[in-house]
């Protein structure tokens, strides 16, 4: 029986056809954090897996596409299996800056949160701001940046998100937050910097049809989960400006 791998933290990156950026992001994370990097290759048709492995990441290759949340959940299950204490999720497309991770992690540990969202409301368009205000209204979640893929999860959040209950979530943002709130976990936000995607646009906001589908799915989800147990979250940390 080999000694179980004990990490303090694990960076989880879902990636689908991101061969242009994935290696740089993996190296960036390894440069600033003393943690392993797990890339979940969501059935890419390009060299994402080889690029990520060459950059020093552990790679899980899904046999067929599960989408961003399904891939991230594979990372959560891997983390649970390997007794990881903290999971940091970020996108493989280079819109999240690895230099921001230590700040986010520090904020997470300082506030004893179960999940800390790296929020960057400045990048949102007017249409998204309206959509987010609507989501705040129907979910009752006091979050400024719902779709940010840059998040830090603690052990209790990892356990909740690796469960069967989380397997039918279709989008990684609101469904996940509603589940965590239902479990009574503490959701926090910390300001961060992001840049526009270096390749391609947002998957969700790519066409009116997908926007509509996303809005309907999320509305149905919010209505279906109404009245979940909620815990008052501390004052959001929006007053702290990100550095650098």
């Amino acid at each position: 029986m080999p000694e179980p791998i004990r990490h303090r933290c694990l960076a989880v990156m879902p990636a689908r056809n991101e061969q242009a950026t994935v290696a740089a992001v993996v190296r960036g994370v390894k440069a600033v954090l003393d943690c392993d990097v797990l890339v979940i290759n969501d059935a890419s048709s390009d060299q994402t897996a080889t690029q990520a492995a060459a950059a020093g990441a552990t790679v899980l290759t899904l046999p067929f596409q599960l989408g961003a949340w399904g891939a991230t959940q594979a990372g959560m299950r891997y983390a649970l299996r390997n007794q990881v204490a903290t999971v940091i999720t970020l996108d493989a497309d280079g819109q999240h800056h690895p230099e921001q991770l230590p700040l986010l992690l520090a904020a997470h540990l300082r506030d004893h949160a179960d999940v800390t969202i790296g929020a960057c409301p400045e990048r949102l368009s007017a249409a998204k701001r309206v959509a987010w205000a609507y989501f705040r209204l129907i979910t009752g979640l006091r979050v400024t940046d719902f779709t940010s893929g840059l998040r830090v999860y603690g052990r209790r959040a990892i356990r909740a998100l690796a469960s069967r209950e989380a397997s039918l979530i279709d989008y990684q943002d609101i469904g996940v937050l509603i589940l965590l709130r239902k479990k009574g976990l503490l959701i926090n936000e910390a300001p961060t910097r992001m840049s526009p995607r270096s390749s391609g646009g947002s998957r969700i906001f790519s066409s009116w049809y997908t926007v509509l589908r996303y809005m309907i799915a999320t509305t149905v989800l919010s209505i279906a989960r109404v009245g979940g147990k909620s815990r008052p979250s501390p004052a959001l940390l929006v007053t702290r400006r990100p550095q650098g």
């Binding site: 080999p2 979940i40 552990t58 790679v59 899980l60 290759t61 899904l62 046999p63 067929f64 599960l66 399904g70 959940q73 594979a74 299950r77 891997y78 299996r81 069967r164 397997s167 039918l168």
Partner: protein, 127 residues
Amino acid sequence: MSAQITAALLGLLLAGSILYLVRRDHLHGPYALWWLIIAAATLVLGFVPRTIDWLAHLSGVAYPPVLPIILGLSLILLRMLQLDIERSRQERQIRRLNQKLAILEEELTSLQNARLRTPKEPRGSSD
């Protein structure tokens, strides 16, 4: 009289197809039971259409011919609901299997790599 022959023929055809499919093992467990009940019902209704009148009288439906339509539609709706529940359950299982397969594959690869690096294993291949 000819309408009754049509009804009996349709019932016989449906029941026959279902029986054939169940016997050929194309329908699994609980589905086979459900469809056998449907086959029996169509046979009864096809050969004894008076059952409808009797059922309509019992349930207070004034116009008996709508009774099989209402019953049929309700059963179809129920069945579709049950199918979607089943589909959701399978979707969850498939997603989790997919993830577990990826995790186990990674563990297998790293175990194999670890073994290649330590050549003291007696039954390891010679290459």
